[in-house]
């Protein structure tokens, strides 16, 4: 194994600025998670009864979709990492295919969430209905916006791969977008049991 492969890489993948954003996002969502769990602690019955209205199945399907999309993205990143000056076109094409699957997952997630929100709003539930729904809507709508942005970022990367825009020396932008998408996945991994399962 070469020194390059065996030695620890100094910086996280992608542009360092995205990691500042990721750390800030984690803190922001972390505070919202704490707000939810400590409010629940003071209103257990209210939270448990309100939780029955939200669909665990759509939460589960969306978790599966995000995990799978993250897998597709990391497979695409592998093609970038293994790219050489000779095979950069082929690597871009293969990465674009994995990205397309990930984008489709992102769109499916958004459609399922819109259906879920339509159901909730159709029941006349809104932010001020009670504390559970305030946190539920705030957390899930906020996360929804992140998925929307993440899907848009993946699409921009996808478009660039279609014109062989990434080379062995320059694929940092690709990793930057991928890192953002994995953060969206990580946030949902905590959000799913917290809002949909724990009672």
């Amino acid at each position: 194994m070469s020194n390059h492969l065996s030695s620890r890489e100094k910086y996280p993948p992608g542009d360092f600025a995205i990691w500042i954003i990721i750390y800030v996002e984690l803190i922001t969502f972390g505070l919202l998670f704490l707000g939810y769990i400590f409010s629940r602690r003071a209103n257990v019955e209210l939270f448990n009864s309100s939780q029955l209205v939200v669909s665990q199945t759509s939460g589960f399907i969306n978790t599966f979709i995000l995990i799978t999309s993250s897998y597709f993205v990391v497979k695409a990143v592998q093609y970038m990492k293994n790219m050489t000056e000779q095979n950069y076109k082929e690597s871009n094409i293969k990465a674009s295919k994995w990205l397309l699957f990930a984008i489709m997952c992102g769109i499916t997630f958004l459609i399922i969430k819109i259906t879920e929100f339509s159901h909730i709003f159709g029941l006349g539930i809104h932010l001020s209905t009670n504390k559970f729904f305030m946190f539920y809507l705030f957390l899930t709508v906020f996360h929804f916006l992140h998925v929307l942005l993440g899907t848009g970022i993946l699409y921009i990367i996808y478009k660039k791969t279609k014109v062989y825009g990434y080379t062995a020396d320059d694929y940092k932008g690709f990793e930057t977008g991928a890192s953002y998408w994995h953060m969206v996945d990580l946030l949902w991994i905590v959000l799913f049991p917290l809002v949909y399962i724990i009672k």
Partner: protein
């Protein structure tokens, strides 16, 4: 390990199915909640290390999301278990 990403995805899916099935129980006892939180910790750790690709970076960058995850999961456990 050659197929580490595939194994990671399979573990994530299996732990998600476990959480989903747990959600259908009318009453989840405290041991199962502890198990659920532990599996959530494992899932988050797998995403951080293998999907985000932080396993091989300098520890100071890797430790931030791991510390965040441990803090959030511990806080959830604390709020769940400690009586008001």
């Amino acid at each position: 390990m050659k197929r580490i990403l595939e194994y990671t995805w399979i573990i994530l899916v299996l732990l998600t199915i476990f959480a989903y099935l747990l959600g259908y129980m009318k009453y989840i006892n405290t041991s199962l909640i502890a198990l659920l939180l532990f599996t959530t910790l494992i899932k988050g750790e797998l995403v951080i290390d293998y999907f985000m690709g932080l396993k091989d970076v300098t520890f100071k960058y890797r430790v931030i999301p791991i510390a965040w995850l441990v803090f959030v999961i511990s806080s959830i456990a604390y709020a769940y278990y400690i009586p008001i």
